[in-house]
Structure formats: C-alpha cells, structure tokens
C-alpha cells in the first residue's frame, strides 16, 4: 500500500481512539455533574427538614 494511503488509515485509527475516549470522558463528566447536583439538592433538603423538626 502506498505510504500516503497508509497514513490516512493510521490517522483514522488514532483519531477514532481519541474521539471515543474524549466522548467517554465528556459523558462521564456530565454524569458526575448531574449526580453532584442531585446529591447537593437532596442534601440541602435533608438539612432543611432536620432544621425544621
């Protein structure tokens, strides 16, 4: 296979790995952000209930 064509395949393979890993980290970051927000909201509600009791 000519070098120029092989370079395209190599770039595509490494690009795909980078893209999937970045995508995974973005999704993981969003999951963390959502969970942190939910935990904080419920935690504050629990604190309020304790204060009101």
């Amino acid at each position: 296979m000519p070098l120029a064509e092989a370079v395209k395949y190599v770039a595509a393979a490494y690009g795909a790995v980078l893209l999937v890993l970045i995508g995974y980290l973005i999704v993981a970051g969003r999951r963390i952000g959502r969970l942190q927000r939910d935990v904080r909201v419920l935690d504050e509600e629990l604190t309020r209930r304790r204060g009101g009791a």
């Binding site: 092989a6 395949y9 190599v10 393979a13 999937v20 993981a28 935990v39 904080r40």
Partner: protein, 243 residues
Amino acid sequence: MQSASTAGAEAGARPAVPGLATTTAILAAAGVALVVGLVVGFWIAPTDASTLGFSQKIFYFHAPIAETALLAYGVAFVAALLYLRRGEARYDRLGVAAVRLGLLFSLLVMVTGTIWGRAAWGVWWAWEPRLTTFLIACLLYSAYFVLRGAVEDESRRATYAALFAIVAFVDVPITFFATRFLPAGLHPVVLGLSGSGMDHRDLIAFLISMAGMTLLFVGLLRLELGIEALREELRELKYRLGR
C-alpha cells in the same frame, strides 16, 4: 460520622468524587505513557518491511487496547467470584464498572481493527478466529447490561449478573489463545513462548503503550467507581428522605 456529600453541602461546595485527585494523577500518567509509546513507535521503531508497511503503526494502540479489554473482563470475572462468595455490593459495583470499560475498550479494538484490516488485508471484516471470538465477547458482555436492566431486585440482579459474568468469561481465554491454537487465522501471535519476533524498538513501544493503556484502565475504573459511590450516596439520601 458525616458523609462526604453532607460535608460538601454544608460547606456550600459540590459533593466530592472519592479519590478524584489520585484518579486524575493516574490518568495523566497514562496520557504521558501513551504519548511516549507513540513517539517511540513512530519515530524510533522501524517501519514494517512486510506487506503491512506504515499501517503497522496502528498496532501500538490496537494490541494494548485489546489486551486491556480482556483485562477488564478478567477484573469483572474476579469481582463476580468475590460477590458470590462475600455478597458485598462493592464487588457488584466493581463488576459493572469493569464490564462497562471492557465494552469501551472492545469498541476501540473493533474500530481500530476494522481500519487496520482494511489497510492490511483489504477487507473491513474477516470471519477469522480472533475477530470472531472477540465479537462474541462484545455481544456477551452487552447482554450483561440487558440482563441487569431486566431484573429489578438489587440482590437478585447482582447475583444473576455475577453468574453471567463468570459464564461470559469462558470466551476470554478462547479469544486470547485463538491465534495460538488456530494459527490459520490472519492475526499474528504478538508475544509467544519463543519471544515476540518483533524488532526490540517495536517491542519497547508496545510495552510502553501497554503500560499506558493499563494505567488508563485503572484511572477510568477508579472514575467509574467514584461515580458509583456518588450514585450510592444519592440512593441513601433518597431513602432517608422517604422517596
């Protein structure tokens, strides 16, 4: 004792992800190792003299990703055994995180493998032993999540998932040894008893990438377990609020 989330809420801060600093350090170390592996692979190791030519450079990520996927399924297998023996939920969480990452790495193997297959063999897919057994592993471990989604009771779900993870693991050694026992396939044996057959610079690049990919797996596994710990915290808070 005060929970992490309670402490965080009282300080007006976000609830902490357990061990995030260490996880970040591991992921950074993984990134460094992977970049070094590529530098050695692309600039120091020689270009393959066989028909593979420059496309052989895909190997420095493809093979370590494949080994890491199998490692992840191995961790899920051990976690399943530990769950069945001890019944502790943390082993179920470890199993879920390991299988999720196993599937992530499997996806990467399939993507890099099909691209490399097209470049090296002229086809996107071939029904040869290594590819076929790897595809079976992907399908089996995808079914793991289908099974988990089908069982509502937490304890039963964890038990069934653990049993499934043990059965599914049967395919992992078959996949690993497929190139050794069925040499008619297109995949070469990378590391055999008689050595690797690779140029020592190729081998160094491969081993550095392998270390980087293993560190990446460990870092992501810790991240997944941190997420599971937050999820557990959320469940606990809901329970205390009567929801």
